[in-house]
């Protein structure tokens, strides 16, 4: 293990972390968001388009807005129309797949990949970048990685210290109680889901614009789902999600670096998934789901 590998783990964990934060924002408001994967897909495409056409900043904006718009459908379906959260999420994932493919044909004249995009200029972390062995970890870092890391304490702070966070959490725990206290339950749920969508879009944008330099169909590879696993493993806490995402990124980094003449390579490819399973099996018992997660809220039969 070395700094190079850590850097790789960090890169691999960033989209998972963002997805986990996305899931967390939504679930803390009581809405299960299986549609993360779709929001990431659409974010990766629009992020790529924005960056290709106007530059990385616009890519970031396009990606987040695209995720947010898809999340808006999820919010309307689940909050207004009480559609089962998982059902809506699954439908959105299918929709995202068809839509991006379609848009890709229309915009890039090919079904499965975009043109090359423009990434943000990378950063060196001041001071630390002089420490030799840390170099791979602290030089040429994507600003989106730093943004993702900053979002961890920021999410914690907003959720736990602010009025908005308190209300949002209350809606995920006991919407009826929140409602009787004058908290606008639907507004909070919409907020949670929309933030979730924007973060998922950002996760997708990171994949296409920052990590690869182009959009390629299927590049999310189930990271939305893995993000959900990280969220659960992290006990619906931002810091926990960070730890879980790093673990997953680390497993990916291992599977990339593991070479063995004995173990067939197919088994090495299983590492991230098997490890996720093992970790969930080991810890999930103490997980504490927001009490009203996934439950439609309806004002007393009206």
């Amino acid at each position: 293990m070395d700094a190079e590998m850590l850097a790789s783990a960090l890169r691999m964990s960033t989209p998972v972390l963002l997805a986990a934060l996305a899931g967390l924002w939504s679930e803390r408001s009581g809405v299960v968001n299986i549609g993360l994967e779709g929001m990431m897909i659409i974010g990766s495409f629009w992020g790529a388009y924005g960056s290709y056409a106007y530059g990385p900043f616009w890519g970031l904006l396009f990606g987040m807005v695209a995720g947010l718009l898809l999340a808006a459908i999820h919010a309307v379906a689940t909050v207004k129309y009480k559609v089962d959260h998982v059902v809506s999420g699954v439908a959105l994932n299918i929709l995202a797949l068809g839509l991006t493919r379609f848009l890709c044909i229309k915009i890039f004249n090919q079904a499965t990949a975009s043109e090359h995009t423009r990434a943000f200029a990378t950063l060196n972390i001041p001071l630390l970048d002089h420490i030799g062995f840390l170099k791979p970890l602290v030089t040429k870092v994507s600003p989106v990685i730093i943004l993702a890391l900053v979002l961890v304490p920021l999410s914690s702070l907003v959720l736990n210290r602010t009025v908005f966070g308190l209300r949002l959490r209350s809606v995920g725990e006991n919407p009826l109680a929140a409602d009787t206290l004058g908290v606008n339950v639907f507004l909070m749920k919409y907020a949670g889901v929309l933030i979730s969508g924007a973060l998922a879009g950002l996760a997708g944008m990171f994949l296409s614009v920052e990590h690869t330099g182009m959009y390629v169909e299927g590049m999310t590879q189930g990271k939305g789902y893995i993000g959900l696993a990280a969220m659960i493993f992290g006990n619906w806490n931002p810091a926990g999600a960070l730890g879980a995402s790093l673990l997953f990124g680390f497993a990916e980094a291992i599977s990339i670096r593991a070479v063995s003449s004995v173990i067939p390579y197919q088994f090495i490819k299983m590492i991230p998934y098997a490890l996720t399973l093992a970790v969930l099996a080991g810890v999930v018992r103490r997980a504490v789901t927001p009490a009203a997660d996934g439950v439609a809220y309806e004002r007393g039969g009206e």
């Binding site: 190079e4 790789s8 890169r11 691999m12 890709c104 890039f108 004249n109 090919q110 079904a111 499965t112 990949a113 090359h116 791979p136 040429k140 994949l207 990590h211 690869t212 330099g213 182009m214 390629v216 169909e217 299927g218 590049m219 590879q221 990916e252 980094a253 990339i256 670096r257 070479v259 390579y265 197919q266 490819k269």
Partner: protein, 340 residues
């Protein structure tokens, strides 16, 4: 134009799943079609399709085209083997080209033409280039999914490297275990970064769209990368171009073009003209420039070009039998003169 009633020739392509946009295999086939379209303009009708899933859908798409009396249909990729076999039987008037696939017992008169490539030979040449270019004496190979077809690239490359210097270390990695391995630039990039970190300074990829990740990594680390299938120097962003020293060319475009051209010409020719189309098997090898290497980054390979061409002619003459799988590779290595 003598017979006004004569219908326009129709030709089509059915891509592999994933279709256009991979910047290598499928795009290369498309380039062949484009050339045809440019050449014949509105004298012909063309169509290109992508299957939405495996299995029966492939057959149905081929069948639809045949039913609409297409004269020639190119099936891109060996996954079409069964579908072409079945559909060709039902539509003797439609000619099919099957790229990379092999169907037993065909002859000149068959309405199927299997077009094969000696990818291992082309890979051998870029292996030679890699061996010449490496300073660290370490080079890398990144494959998409591990199976016989891609292993041809791997062993050919490794043989080429060994031919120059058997002591050069070759890192071999594969991306994944499903078709997605050919469109996973992230893994491509991370694998390349690992190989670079381990010392590789030239990396050859045979991983379809995943290769863009390999180029990213190479350009960022300022080491050399070798493309595959088409001349990937041309489709890369300017910043990466200096680092794409060459590409192993697998002229799917040529194969596509050749086939379609004969089919169209036959259709346009007045009745009684001897047909140009021949069914059966056609190998695209080093001899006929069916495989080779790209020279657009002339600067990058100018020092090695002579050596490469030297090997090229040896292969063409049959002096070197390039290995294409583990067994032939081991035998090949065993026969190499040991260098100090």
């Amino acid at each position: 134009a003598g017979l006004g009633a004569k219908k326009k020739p129709k030709v089509g392509i059915v891509f592999d799943v994933g279709g256009r946009g991979d910047k290598s295999f499928n795009d290369s086939a498309y380039a062949g079609l484009e050339k045809i379209m440019k050449e014949y303009g509105d004298k012909i009708e063309t169509k290109f399709l992508e299957p939405s899933g495996g299995g029966e859908n492939r057959e149905q798409l081929l069948r639809q085209l045949a039913e609409l009396k297409y004269d020639g249909v190119v099936a891109v990729g060996f996954l079409f083997t069964d579908a072409v076999t079945k559909v060709a039987k039902d539509f003797p008037n439609t000619k099919f080209a099957l790229i990379d696939g092999f169907i037993d017992k065909l002859n000149d008169k068959s309405n199927i033409l299997c077009q094969g490539f000696t990818e291992h030979e082309g890979s051998f040449l870029v292996g030679v280039a890699a061996a010449k270019a490496t300073k660290s004496k370490k080079v890398g190979f990144v494959g998409g999914m591990k199976f016989a077809l891609i292993e041809k690239f791997e062993y050919g490359f490794r043989a080429g490297v060994a031919a120059v210097d058997p002591n050069i270390k070759v890192f071999v990695d594969y991306i994944g275990t499903t078709g997605d391995a050919f469109k996973d630039p992230i893994k491509g990039k991370e694998l390349a970064q690992k190989q670079i970190k381990d010392g590789a300074d030239v990396i050859y990829h045979a991983s379809g769209a995943s290769g863009t990740g390999v180029f990213e990594a190479a350009a960022a680390a300022k080491v050399m990368a070798i493309g595959v299938d088409s001349d990937q120097y041309l489709s890369a962003p300017a910043a990466q171009q200096p680092y794409i020293m060459t590409s192993m060319l697998k002229r799917v475009d040529v194969a596509t073009y050749d086939f379609l051209k004969t089919v169209i010409d036959d259709a346009l020719a007045p009745k009684g003209t001897a047909p140009k189309y021949k069914g059966g098997y056609k190998t695209y090898g080093i001899k006929d420039n069916g495989v080779g290497y790209a020279e657009s980054n002339a600067n990058a390979i100018k020092d090695y070009k002579a050596t490469m061409d030297d090997f090229k002619s040896k292969i063409a003459k049959g002096e070197i039998a390039v290995p294409l799988d583990k067994a032939t590779f081991d035998a090949y290595i065993a026969k190499l003169p040991k260098k100090p």
